[in-house]
């Protein structure tokens, strides 16, 4: 102990001997006194996040175990009753199928389309490149409701752009895009393609720009053709971007609300063909005033999104050691 005390004492003396203001002294002082200033600066975000996101999240989890109906504030604890109802609810499955249809459709079409667009926009010597970039991004800057209102006109059976300018010249019959249950979800997917392809193309362009051109040049020198370079260099190096784009596409798809509501109404249109999970949540909680059940639907959506996101990240090898 005495030896230890001597060592410490020597250290203190040695430290005190250092000229004031040197980095060593500042480090030591900071170690002794906790730095609160950074916490003060980041506090506003966490306070607001806690009030407007954290508390409601916890409260809704609690609410999902209660039966809380109507405008009176009393609630009755019913355990897993809301979740048990959920697994037997045909409308929930209808909304799940519709939403998954949209998610699959939009991911399988939008992601390859966005990648192709990004590759095209990267072409050397492309005229008006910036104009095209801006044009493809622009739909994303417009509110979903505004886009849907415009697309209502585009899809109009009698006077719409699609039927009169695309199908009629080809001699095809008019399609009831928003009245025929078979065409409602394809219409919403078409809208999604128009609105979100450009944004995803921008993500891919950033991913492509971050690739070292030296690797491509080396492959070219080694005799790799354009397809081989794309297949074995571009695509693997784009994996983080692809994971990001697909994850956000899944999250966005399962949160789809404004566009189908504006296109086919809150009920989802004929046969509820346009009813998405978030629309069903809204209807349950804010029209039927079944708040406990609405909260359970909300948590079901969260679980679905998390599971699907993790699954696709796993499928793309995101969790393999070399990816990390």
């Amino acid at each position: 102990m005495a030896a230890l005390a001597r060592t410490l004492s020597t250290k203190d003396v040695a430290t005190d001997a250092v000229t004031p203001g040197t980095p060593t002294r500042r480090r030591r002082r900071s170690y002794v006194r906790p730095r609160w200033t950074p916490y003060f600066f980041i506090a506003p975000f966490f306070i607001l996040f806690g009030i407007f996101f954290g508390l409601p999240t916890v409260r809704s989890l609690q609410m999902s175990f209660y039966t809380e109906r109507g405008v009176d504030t009393s609630a009755e604890f019913t355990g897993l009753d809301n979740y048990a109802t959920l697994v037997r609810d045909p409308t929930f499955y209808k909304a799940l199928v519709n939403t998954s249809y949209y998610a699959l459709g939009s991911i399988l079409i939008i992601v390859p389309l966005a990648l192709s667009l990004a590759l095209l926009l990267r072409t050397r010597g492309l005229l008006l490149r910036e104009f095209f970039r801006l044009s493809f991004f622009l739909p994303n800057a417009i509110s979903g409701i505004v886009v849907a209102i415009v697309f209502r006109l585009v899809f109009d059976q009698e006077y719409g752009l699609l039927n009169n300018w695309l199908l009629a010249p080809l001699g095809l019959p008019k399609v009831a895009w928003l009245a025929d249950p078979a065409f409602i979800m394809p219409s919403i997917i078409l809208l999604g393609i128009w609105q979100f392809t450009g944004l995803n193309a921008i993500y891919f362009m950033v991913g492509l720009q971050n690739q070292d051109p030296g690797i491509h040049e080396a492959a070219t020198v080694d005799g790799a053709g354009p397809w081989q370079r794309f297949r074995y260099i571009t695509l693997p190096l784009l994996k983080p971007t692809t994971v990001f784009v697909v994850t956000f596409a899944i999250i966005g798809s399962y949160q789809l609300f404004a566009q189908p509501v504006a296109l086919v109404g809150e009920g989802g249109g004929p046969n509820r063909a346009g009813l998405t999970l978030t629309m069903y949540l809204y209807e349950t909680a804010f029209t039927n005033l079944d708040l406990g059940y609405g909260a359970a639907i909300g948590y079901a959506i969260t679980v679905i999104i998390v599971v699907l996101s993790v699954l696709q990240m796993w499928a793309q090898g995101f969790f393999r050691k070399e990816s990390a």
Binding site: D72, E158, P270, D290
Partner: protein
């Protein structure tokens, strides 16, 4: 102990010592102040948001919410008159469309914070307020009965705001559904539709007189025709009756009328209602009449103003000789919130604006809502010619059929039945993909299951 860094001295900063502030401290205090201000501000903002706004004048002041700009304009006029008479000021707020419903729900869920004293509730949304252990509106039934208003209001219309013995609102409009017809093609065909007393006579006359490409009217709503026959989707006790024999028969009758060439199904009619394609058919005289509530006149005027003045109106043909010749569609009721601390004065204003002949006449003149308040019907001002109908005394027609207007029964599950179960399936019935019996039975079962799960309601 605070120790200034050498750079402070070089920059001519505060002298070293116990009272000096280091840059780090200064930044720390600034950050702390910012957080303090933010937290304080948030708390204050929350407190402010949770505190009802100060009333502009005396404690007698009232707040009224409505979702329709036409109603808001008329209420403001009423508020002025009410203030002149009583000195009580009524603040009218316009919260458009379904936002009012959401806002009221949120405020009621928050324990009644900032709720108005009086509120217009659209009949389609009213059922949602019956969910739960208590109705958030004041039961004005005793007051209506005490002053004899219950006998002066059309009973069928009041059914919309009645539930389990309580009466929770007063309806603005009679919403009588009659037959609107384009005068010119009917005159050309040599038929006066008012002389066709039954639907059978009507159907026969149309098929015999008009050319084959002309149909009498677009398919009327199933609920409208069902009510004309005395049925509805719920009965007076709130039981589901959408799968009743009468309901199924009415749907089959509608489809038969389409098949025999009397009724039409123009593009978009089932899913969108009145739309440009429908108006094109009216203009081309392919359709010559419309089963319509009084308030459609305004819709028609806004969508097809070239047809204004060309319409006539007459009672609906009945389903059997001597039967009911009117139905009803839509409606909005004025309610008093239980959370109001000024319920007596709110009742005074409701009485002043909704249950007085001069007031309801003013409303009719201003926004074309024919009142369900029977004493007003005989007033000469209610019989002024209406330009929309080419000068016809429409008041006489509505007075004639007014007391025949059928009841529309309310239920906590009405919005769910119509909007979530029946509406999405109706296209299959109209397209004859599924039978009315099959669909209505499925809808009834789904709603009954919801009711069973619903527990204590109303």
């Amino acid at each position: 102990m605070a120790t200034a860094s050498p750079r402070h001295s070089r920059a001519g900063g505060p002298p070293r010592g116990r009272r000096g502030l280091t840059r780090r401290q200064a930044i720390g205090y600034l950050g702390g102040s910012a957080v303090g201000a933010l937290v304080g501000g948030t708390t204050l903002a929350t407190a402010t948001a949770c505190t009802p706004p100060e009333t502009p004048t005396s404690q007698g002041d009232l707040n009224l919410w409505t979702f329709a700009d036409t109603h808001a304009g008329w209420f403001m006029e009423m508020a002025k008159e009410f203030e002149q008479e009583t000195g009580i000021k009524v603040a009218v707020s316009l919260i458009p469309g379904s936002v009012l419903f959401q806002q009221l729900l949120i405020n009621l869920k928050a324990g009644g914070l900032n709720t108005p004293d009086l509120c217009d509730i659209e009949q389609g949304a009213f059922g949602s307020f019956l969910i739960g252990r208590s109705v958030p509106f004041v039961d004005i039934g005793p007051a209506l009965r005490e002053k004899g208003y219950d006998k002066q209001l059309v009973a069928g219309r009041q059914a919309l705001y009645s539930w389990q013995g309580g009466v929770y609102g007063v309806e603005h409009a009679l919403t009588p559904v009659t037959l609107f017809y384009l005068r010119e093609p009917w005159e050309r065909a040599g038929i006066d539709p008012a002389t066709l007393h039954t639907w059978d006579e009507f159907s026969e006359a149309v098929r015999e007189t008009f050319p084959p490409e002309t149909r009498a009217l677009p398919l009327p709503g199933h609920d409208v025709m069902l009510r004309q026959r005395g049925g509805d989707y719920f009965d007076a006790e709130g039981r589901v009756t959408v799968d009743s024999e009468l309901s199924i028969d009415t749907m089959e009758w509608l489809l038969a009328q389409e098949k025999n060439g009397t009724f039409a199904r123009p593009p978009g009619w089932i899913t969108e209602g009145l739309n440009p394609a429908v108006w094109a058919e009216f203009r081309a005289n392919k359709i010559v009449s419309l089963v319509s509530p009084d308030w459609y006149a305004g819709t028609i005027e806004s969508q097809a103003d070239d047809l204004v003045g060309k319409w006539g109106a007459c009672p609906l043909p009945a389903f059997e000789p001597g039967g009911r010749r009117a139905s009803c569609l839509g409606g909005t009721g004025l309610t008093i919130l239980k959370t109001s601390k000024r319920q007596e004065i709110a009742w005074q204003f409701l009485e002043f604006s909704m249950l007085r002949v001069p007031a309801v006449i003013k409303r009719y003149k201003a926004i074309n809502l024919y009142p369900p308040f029977i004493p007003a019907w005989s007033d000469p001002q209610m019989h002024d010619p209406i330009p929309f109908f080419g000068g016809q005394d429409i008041g006489a027609l509505y007075a004639e059929v007014g007391e025949e207007v059928p009841p529309q029964y309310q239920s906590p599950y009405r919005p769910q039945l119509t909007g979530q179960e029946l509406g999405p399936r109706m296209l299959d019935v109209y397209q004859r993909k599924r039978s009315a019996a099959e669909v209505f039975s499925e809808v009834a079962d789904a709603v009954r299951a919801r009711m069973e799960r619903g527990g204590s309601v109303g």
